[in-house]
């Protein structure tokens, strides 16, 4: 055993470059896996934290059925399933400055109880003290926006009455101040808010944290039972499933990174080991000739790969932890208010990353090692081993079939089969490409042989011939295509997620909007503003229009559906629906429904719905359904019918396009004067959204660089392997008269060609992968990915450049080659 260990360690020491490359690829894979697993969890955690906002660790809310009533802490029974509870007083106010209106949610609680479920974090550190009277604690995200400092006085309009508050402290945009809706949250002293709201004997809601292993659902059921018959409502603070699903969607790129990192590391280690075993054949022969069994030889070589796996895994996790902390700290810092994002390292992530590093190393080595240890002793000792030639057409046939299945499967699967089908398709596409590459390369080589002979003369012909049946070249192309397609897929999906989250108006024509009461005169004045292009005023019915049991949270009326469609980028459920809806709107009482509303209420196109508000009622026919990310409207009706039927007094929303949207917005804010409004340009809105949510995606882009680094390591590793295997062939060429100049020419042509083939295959495969990813995620999103050809092209060019750069080493090395040593080596 000792001698075997010594042999292994000597191998590792003697082959420094290869050991470094092997270790680097395992370390990088382990880092990527570990960081992407952990960042996904940390990200989910941060998402949950944001969604919970004010509730903190509380999972259940008990509130009075009537908003005018209150609920007391005594109303909650003493249960062992309850860990902590805190009463919350809640009100609302408006903050107005320079034409901007911000909605402020006022909250107050007994601080000792609030600290148990969601302790506010002050920017200055320390605890809240002497918090009485007309004082307020505001989040720094709000104060920095308006230049408010501790000790300043702010005026909040509560029920139309301006009320002055002293800013007692500035808190981090965290804990109770976190929110996923626009506006800000302000913490007031309990007695002050109770006085303002005139609710001195109770709270607006009680937040409850379940004990230990009690689930929110279980506690909600218990409380519902205990409080039955009382005018109280029990509800879960957040929909955990929904948060989980949302977070999963947003962490999709991270898992995509893991997937590619894994695929690449398998390939790098496998190809490295193939060469290592070939290189070790004389030693294997010696071992076997002195009586070592197949099993012993396998064990010796496997032990070496396990050593790489263990070392790489451990270094990877340690390095990964540092990188994860740096990334998360960066995320927290870039948020203007500095949300504290927990570094969540689960044992599962550690085990999975470490296990993968070890298992991938062992398994990738197993195939070549097993093959080598089974070789006949005589052949090994005499150096008569040649690589087995698998008939290309078999593998290619299987590859083509697999390609077809992988493309079709996600298109045919639905429901719970969609995710497994997607996973199979992603793996299948890569495997299929690997199998088809030798065939594609051979066919191309035949075509290129003629083309290159004309362009590059005989050197071109020889370079093209060298591509044929050349395992090194196909290995290079394979690694290159995996790397490039990883970069493309991650970039496209990452950009998509970024856009999806931060640009809800993507595809919508509007450039600015105003939310407030606007009469015909107001609209006319906006129409007269210089530079205004299109304007769409809309009547809005918020929580007032009823239809049987359903109350529309938002129903809008417009006199120009065509403009409405383009302004809000409405995506109709069926292609021809838009045209028929436009014509129906001008002819009859028609209604368009959001797809969710249509499906939730089991309505069908053509059904008649009776709409009713305080001013009237009438029947409208469903003319179509849509989805849109730019508006949360549930239904749209023609204003020509809405005006006589439901008598809206003024417009409540206005969308516009203009040569200079900012200038129009300033004029609109001016027109509103002191009237409450919420008016933004789309750019302004997106900047706001980006400052909170977009920053979560930054780590993903830093991870893309790691993927690129892994890809570069892989390609260099392969080129090194390529050179090791090719140097004898170069020596053979040189022995019959190949000059260095010709060698450089042939090498460049070969590298360029394999780079181009790899890039082309990567572009096709990544396009298919992106299709699969969005087919699987598609049913949940109403937006298509932006397939910018530039991304594909630049990734492809980058790959070609890396390959060309990598060929410099073989070119330099072969210049200094000692011909006789290479030729005589067998």
């Amino acid at each position: 055993m000792k001698i075997i260990l010594k042999y292994i360690l000597t191998n590792v020491k003697e082959r420094k470059t290869r050991t470094i490359v092997m270790l680097l690829s395992i370390v990088l894979s382990a880092v990527l896996l570990f960081v992407s697993f952990s960042i996904g969890t940390s990200y989910e955690n941060a998402q949950q934290k944001m969604a919970r906002g004010m509730a903190g660790s509380a999972a259940i809310s008990v509130s009075p059925l009537s908003p005018d009533d209150t609920v007391g802490l005594d109303d909650i029974p003493e249960l062992t399933s309850i860990k902590a509870k805190a009463g919350m007083l809640e009100g609302s106010a408006l903050y107005h400055e320079d034409g901007y209106y911000e909605t402020i949610d006022l909250i107050a609680s007994d601080l000792s109880l609030l600290n148990q479920i969601n302790k506010p974090r002050l920017v200055s550190g320390g605890d809240i003290e002497n918090f009485t009277g007309y004082k307020v604690i505001l989040p720094d995200r709000f104060t920095s926006k308006y230049g408010i400092e501790k000790g300043d006085t702010v005026i909040l309009q509560i029920n139309g009455v301006p009320t002055r508050f002293e800013v007692a402290e500035i808190a981090s945009y965290d804990t109770v101040f976190l929110r996923h809706t626009r506006g800000a949250t302000a913490l007031l002293p309990e007695s002050t808010l109770a006085e303002i709201l005139q609710k001195k004997n109770g709270y607006s809601e009680i937040l409850i944290e379940p004990a230990g292993d009690v689930s929110a659902g279980e506690l909600a059921d218990t409380l519902t039972e205990e409080l039955s018959g009382r005018p109280l409502s029990v509800s879960k603070v957040v929909n955990e499933e929904q948060i989980e699903a949302d977070a999963r969607q947003k962490s999709m790129p991270f898992f995509l990174i893991s997937f590619f990192a894994l695929t690449m590391s398998v390939f790098i280690i496998y190809s490295s080991y193939k060469v290592i075993t070939l290189d070790r054949l004389p030693i294997i022969g010696t071992f076997r000739s002195i009586g070592a069994t197949q099993k012993t030889v396998t064990r010796i070589l496997m032990l070496e790969s396990a050593l790489y796996g263990f070392t790489g895994g451990i270094i990877g996790i340690l390095l990964g932890t540092v990188i994860l902390k740096l990334i998360l700290r960066g995320m927290g810092d870039s948020l203007s208010a500095g949300i504290e994002i927990p570094v969540v390292i689960t044992p599962a992530a550690v085990l999975l990353s470490f296990g993968t590093a070890v298992i991938v190393s062992i398994l990738s080595a197993w195939i070549p090692v097993r093959r080598a240890s089974r070789l006949p002793i005589k052949d090994v000792v005499l150096g008569m081993v040649e690589e087995k030639h698998m008939p290309n057409h078999h593998a290619a046939g299987i590859g083509i079939a697999l390609l077809v299945v992988s493309v079709l499967l996600p298109r045919l699967a639905s429901g719970k089969f969609l995710y497994p089908a997607g996973g199979f398709s992603l793996l299948g596409l890569i495997s299929a490409a690997i199998m088809v590459i030798p065939l594609v390369t051979n066919l191309l080589s035949k075509v290129l042989e003629r083309v290159y002979t004309v362009i590059f003369k005989n050197e071109g012909m020889l370079a093209a011939r060298n591509l044929r049946d050349n395992k090194n070249i196909t290995q290079n192309i394979t690694l290159l295509f995996i790397s490039i397609s990883a970069v493309i897929a991650i970039t496209v999906v990452g950009n998509f997620v970024n856009t999806y989250i931060t640009d809800v108006f993507n595809g919508a024509e509007l450039q600015g909007f105003a939310d407030g009461e606007m009469d015909e005169d107001f609209i006319r004045q906006v129409e007269g503003m210089e530079g205004i292009e299109k304007i769409l005023p809309v009547y809005v019915f918020n929580n007032e229009m009823q239809c049987q049991d359903h109350t529309f949270s938002r129903l809008e009326a417009t006199d120009n559906l065509e403009l409405y469609n383009s302004m809000f980028h409405l995506i109709y459920s069926k292609k021809d629906m838009e045209v028929s809806a436009i014509s129906a709107f001008s002819e009859t009482r028609s209604i368009l429904l959001n797809e969710d509303v249509l499906n939730r209420n089991d309505y069908e196109i053509g059904d008649s719905l009776t709409l009713e508000n305080d001013s009237g009622r009438n029947t409208y026919t469903i003319a179509g359904s849509f989805k849109s990310r730019a508006t949360d409207v549930e239904a749209v009706i023609p204003s020509a019918y809405a005006i006589p039927d439901f008598k809206p007094a003024v417009y409540h929303f206005l969308a516009y396009t203009a040569a200079d949207p900012d200038s129009i917005m300033i004029q609109i804010r001016d027109l509103f004067g002191n009237t409450q409004n919420w008016s933004r340009t789309v750019e302004e809105f997106n900047t706001d959204a980006l400052s909170t949510v977009g920053v979560f995606l930054e780590p993903m882009f830093s991870m893309t660089y790691l993927i690129l680094l892994l890809a570069a390591v892989g390609i260099i590793n392969n080129l090194l392997i390529n050179y090791i295997q090719k140097r004898r062939s170069i020596a053979m060429y040189k022995s019959v008269g190949l000059s260095n100049r010709q060698n450089i020419k042939i090498t460049i042509i070969e590298s360029l060609t394999s780079g181009i083939i790899g890039a082309a295959i990567a572009i096709v495969v990544s396009y298919l992968e992106i299709q699969t990813i969005f087919l699987v995620a598609g049913p949940k999103i109403s937006m298509s990915p932006d397939l910018d050809f530039k991304t594909f092209l630049s990734a492809g060019l980058l790959g070609i450049l890396v390959t060309l750069a990598g060929s410099v080493v073989p070119m330099v090395k072969s210049r200094k080659m000692k011909l006789v040593e290479e030729i005589k080596f067998e």
Partner: protein, 228 residues
């Protein structure tokens, strides 16, 4: 025996070759001088490690001497740069190795044509010569096969054909029968002998085998880096 007063094909003067491994310098060739005449078939013999192969590679321009000069047709080639030396390898010399050294992904024809292809020539312009050579080495029916589809003897025939294709001044052979069974080895030697006899091809061959050396006009024995 041919006259040694004929023209000189290759001449080595005071050839010294040192190998440095770590701190140790091993003198492999110690001031060797020799001449090989045109159309001569010379065998170089000696024990393993005697320096015979090193001498062959230095004479053939695949290796450079530490000291001394090598002239071909009266021109000193030992100071040639890569471009000039490569041209010499393509046009003036042919090499046959023990392990054939064929390019596995090129077929028989392409392997044979390789020196000419590297010299910018087209296969179509050399069709007749190619067919003749294939006929000489007995591989006409194997011309579209790749090396891995041939036996050891056939591969060595391809190597000989490749070495002869460019009508070189000198053919160097390093243990051409070393990797073959005795029957095939004898066939290869017969082939080399007939080429030498029929076309006056100069051949310098390194061999262990006294049997193979019998085919040559002259035998040079090298021992401990000097010619005996």
């Amino acid at each position: 025996m041919k006259s040694i007063t004929g023209n000189i094909a290759v001449e080595g003067k005071n050839i010294v070759k040192d190998f440095i491994i770590g701190d140790t310098t091993t003198k492999v060739l110690k001031d060797i001088s020799l001449k090989v005449l045109k159309s001569e078939f010379v065998s170089i013999m000696g024990q393993s490690g005697s320096g015979k192969s090193t001498l062959l590679y230095i004479l053939g321009g695949l290796d450079t001497p530490t000291r001394g000069t090598v002239s071909m047709n009266g021109i000193d080639i030992s100071k040639f740069d890569d471009e000039k030396m490569s041209r010499i390898r393509r046009q003036k010399i042919g090499f046959v190795f023990q392990f054939y050294n064929l390019i596995p992904n090129l077929d028989v024809e392409e392997n044979i044509m390789l020196p000419l292809l590297l010299d910018g020539k087209k296969i179509r312009d050399y069709r007749k010569r190619l067919d003749e050579i294939l006929e000489v080495v007995g591989l006409t029916d194997r011309k579209k096969h790749t090396p891995r589809e041939l036996s050891g003897g056939q591969q060595q025939r391809v190597a000989i054909a490749r070495a002869l294709m460019g009508s070189p001044d000198i053919l160097f052979a390093d243990e051409p029968t070393g990797n073959l069974d005795s029957k095939t080895g004898a066939e290869i030697m017969e082939l080399l002998q007939s080429i030498n006899k029929n076309s006056g091809q100069t051949i310098i061959m390194v061999t262990h085998s006294p049997e193979a050396a019998k085919s040559s006009d002259r035998i040079i024995t090298v021992k401990d880096g000097v010619i005996l």
